[in-house]
Every structure is written in structure tokens, then in C-alpha cells.
């Protein structure tokens, strides 16, 4: 029974894709790309932080972006859901295709697209005046989910996905700020998952956390990638090796090398990449 439903829903998924994006037909032999960034140039105060980056992200896989500080990896990540342009005097040109639809075609559509692309920030940023429950449900209310039962289900489901449910199920009314740093970050991931996004962007999600909390988040990423396209920016090369399937190395605003994680770390083609992954600079 379950298998049938699974099959059906997979078919539905496929149907949706076919109707939405005609070009996936010819891409069936090629790997499927969920998100494609074309010629992304991002500047800040007129200084280019990202210089013409082209990158394709596979569905149901984790792609890691690594590189020394200031190489533009966070900026690039923020371009993918049009978050960069919210910063003062920031500019972006280029295209980002989500299932073949250009995110940058229409200004107002940014709001719709941001819902499809969840984001987790470097430091946990739960809404301080809201309870744990309300933090997760915040995006649902925004998107017109009125059914209390459905909201309850989603909140519980998302908290389970980040392994937080068992820790907080009796304190759902407590403020989100009462949690520890690692719990807060997982709460923020749950908040991002609640709006049922298709892509998950993570900007050094574990940089402010201790090793145990980091491990929890990495386990979670491994679990989440079964259903999501995940793109993660990280400073920690071991982390990239542990969680990602593909890795892109950025340096001075350019994408220097992009390939399977194993290849990048064991057999880099580029000299700078080799130096970086061997820890000779950073």
C-alpha cells in the first residue's frame, strides 16, 4: 500500500515536472538539475564579489561551496534566493533557474521564489518574541495555511526532521530564545522546512556551534538530502567531505573548480584548489 502511494506520488512529481519544465525531457539522460545559476555577477558598493559564476545543482544531493574568507561564496549563495539584493547598495545580474523558471525575471516573484528556496543563516536567528511553535509556524501563517490540524502536523513533522521534537515537545509555548545555540539553529532549519521548500540553502549552519551540535546538524543534512536539493557554504573542509556529494571551490569571486567531492579533495585538477584543500592557505 505504502509502496503504491509512493510510486503514485513519484509519478505525480514527474508529471508536474514535465508540465512545468519542458526541457527536462531531453535532460532525462543527463543528470537532473534542480537549480541552475547562469552568469551570476554580484557586486557590493560597486565592488564585484562574485564574477560571472555558472553552476548547476543536482536534485536530491548536497553541494558544498568552499573557499577562503571573502571569496564570495556566501554572496553567491544569497543570490540564489535573491537575498543579496536586500543589502544596501548591492547589485546582481544573471539568471537563476529553478526547474527552468528564471527567478530574476520578475521583481515581485521574488517573494514566491523565496518560499520555494529555504535558507538557514550563519547564526541562529529565531524570532525572539515568538514561541517555539510560532517560530516554526510563522511561514505557514504567511502563506495562508489556516487549518490548525495541518499546522500542528507540519510543526511536529519539521521538528522531528531536525531531531528537535523530543527535546521540546513539552515546551512548545516557550520562547524560541530559551533554547541552546544548537537547538536554536535546528529550530531555524525547522522554520525553513515548514514552508515546504524544494531547495535548502545553508550558510555555514554549524559555524557557531560546538562539535556535538555540529554532528547533529550533519546527520540531519544526510537525512534531508533524500528529499531536498541542499547547497551548503562551509569553512570546514572535513565537513564538506562528510556531508556533500559535490563541491565547488571559489576563489576571489570565481568558481575555480566544481566536481564530485571525492575528486575535488583527492584529485583536484586546479593548482589553487589543491593548495587550498591541502590547507596551505585559507
Amino acid at each position: 500500500m505504502e509502496g503504491v502511494a509512493d510510486l503514485e506520488s513519484q509519478q505525480v512529481d514527474k508529471m508536474e515536472m514535465l508540465t512545468k519544465t519542458p526541457f527536462t525531457q531531453k535532460a532525462t539522460e543527463e543528470p537532473q538539475y534542480k537549480l541552475i545559476a547562469e552568469n551570476i555577477v554580484a557586486s557590493y558598493n560597486g565592488i564585484e564579489a562574485v564574477k560571472k559564476v555558472n553552476m548547476k545543482f543536482r536534485d536530491r544531493a548536497v553541494t558544498a561551496l568552499i573557499g577562503p574568507s571573502g571569496c564570495g561564496k556566501t554572496t553567491f549563495l544569497r543570490c540564489l534566493n535573491r537575498m543579496h539584493e536586500l543589502t544596501k547598495s548591492a547589485k546582481v545580474t544573471g539568471r537563476v533557474l529553478l526547474d527552468g523558471q528564471d527567478l530574476y525575471s520578475n521583481r515581485e516573484d521574488a517573494i514566491i521564489h523565496r518560499r520555494k528556496i529555504g535558507m538557514v543563516f550563519q547564526k541562529p536567528n529565531p524570532f525572539p518574541t515568538m514561541s517555539i511553535y510560532d517560530n516554526v509556524a510563522a511561514g505557514l501563517k504567511l502563506n495562508g495555511v489556516k487549518d490548525k490540524k495541518i499546522t500542528d502536523q507540519i510543526v511536529q513533522g519539521c521538528l522531528e526532521m531536525v531531531y528537535l521534537w523530543d527535546e521540546v515537545k513539552h515546551d512548545l509555548k516557550k520562547p524560541g530564545m530559551s533554547l541552546s545555540g544548537g537547538q536554536q539553529q535546528r529550530l531555524c532549519i525547522a522554520r525553513a522546512l515548514a514552508i515546504q521548500p524544494e531547495v535548502l540553502l545553508m550558510d555555514e549552519p554549524a559555524s557557531a556551534l560546538d562539535p556535538i551540535a555540529t554532528q547533529k546538524i550533519e546527520e540531519m543534512i544526510n537525512e534531508l538530502k533524500k528529499e531536498y536539493t541542499i547547497i551548503i557554504v562551509t569553512h570546514n573542509m572535513q565537513q564538506a567531505v562528510r556531508v556533500s556529494d559535490y563541491t565547488g571551490f571559489m576563489y576571489l569571486g570565481d568558481l575555480v573548480e566544481f566536481g564530485e567531492t571525492k575528486q575535488i579533495f583527492e584529485n583536484p585538477r586546479n593548482e589553487i584548489t589543491a593548495k587550498y584543500v591541502q590547507g596551505q592557505f585559507g
Binding site: 517573494i111 523565496r114 543563516f121 529565531p126 525572539p128 510563522a138 504567511l142 514552508i195
Partner: protein
């Protein structure tokens, strides 16, 4: 309605109130601005990430964070209004005696500061009149210090994390 009764002739409580409102706009606006700048950008980004419009970001991320500070800014504006003297003295009509209790919005009235400014030139130093005027000053002082302390407590709580200046 009694409050709107009478013929407006310009020098009344209504005119003074409108001018006072205009005068406190810059105070409230600039302090509110400082307070809203103090809201961390990460809060706004979290709301944007969920697919919020600008107005929804304001409701979701900015208002809850800065509510008490915005109330404080308004109270500071109120404090400025309480002490404002010359513009009010010129506009409120300076009613005296029993007539100073306003019967409607459009009747002249007086304020603590307008009494002081108006009658000070006529009061001989050392007289009871002068003492009464300085007594008015004392009441004004008490009101102003209460308002200002409450407002500053509210504002400084929000700005504590932030280094921005409140320019008076």
C-alpha cells in the same frame, strides 16, 4: 457634540495641537528610525526567507523587536510637546480665569508653559505671583521628568545592543 461646539477663530486648542503635532514629528521620526535601524538585519532576512512582503517583514521582524522603543520614541515626542512654550503661547489664545477651562476644541485655553511665559513679565520678583509661576514650573518639571525617565528607559532598552546615536 460639545467638544466641537463654538466658532473656531484660530487661536484655540485645536490650532495649537495641530502645530504641536507637526513640531514633534521630527523628534519621533528620528528616534524611531534609530530604533528600527537597531533591529538586526538577520531578523529581517529570516522573514524575507519565509516569503514575506516588505510590510509583512515589518510586522513580523521589526515591530516585535522594537515595540517598546517605538513607544518610548512617542513618549519622548510627548515630552517635547509638554515643554513647548513659545509656539503654544502664540496660538492657544491664553484664556484666563474660569474661561481657561476649555469648553470645546475650538475654545482658547492655556498650558503650564504658556502661563509662565505670558505672565512672567508682569510678575514682580519676590511677589506671590512670581512664586506661583515658579510653582507652575515645578509642576511642569515633575511631569516632564516622569515622562522623560519612562521614555528613556524604554528607548535605551532597545538601543542597548546598538551603538547608534540618539541625536536630540
Amino acid at each position: 457634540m460639545a467638544i466641537f461646539s463654538g466658532t473656531p477663530f484660530g487661536l484655540d486648542i485645536f490650532t495649537a495641537s495641530v502645530v504641536l503635532a507637526i513640531m514633534i514629528i521630527p523628534t519621533i521620526a528620528s528616534i524611531s528610525r534609530e530604533i528600527m535601524i537597531a533591529v538586526p538585519q538577520s531578523q529581517r532576512e529570516a522573514a524575507y526567507m519565509l516569503g514575506a512582503t516588505k510590510w509583512e517583514v515589518f510586522k513580523m521582524a521589526v515591530v516585535p523587536y522594537s515595540k517598546s522603543g517605538l513607544v518610548g520614541a512617542s513618549i519622548l515626542g510627548l515630552g517635547r510637546a509638554v515643554g513647548e512654550t513659545m509656539a503654544i503661547t502664540m496660538l492657544i489664545g491664553n484664556a484666563t480665569g474660569q474661561g481657561a477651562f476649555p469648553s470645546s476644541l475650538f475654545s482658547p485655553g492655556q498650558t503650564l508653559s504658556s502661563i509662565i511665559a505670558n505672565e512672567f513679565p508682569e510678575a514682580a520678583s519676590g511677589s506671590l505671583h512670581m512664586a506661583a509661576l515658579i510653582g507652575c514650573g515645578l509642576i511642569l518639571f515633575a511631569i516632564a521628568i516622569t515622562i522623560n525617565i519612562v521614555a528613556q528607559l524604554l528607548v535605551s532598552r532597545v538601543l542597548k545592543t546598538h551603538q547608534g546615536a540618539i541625536l536630540a
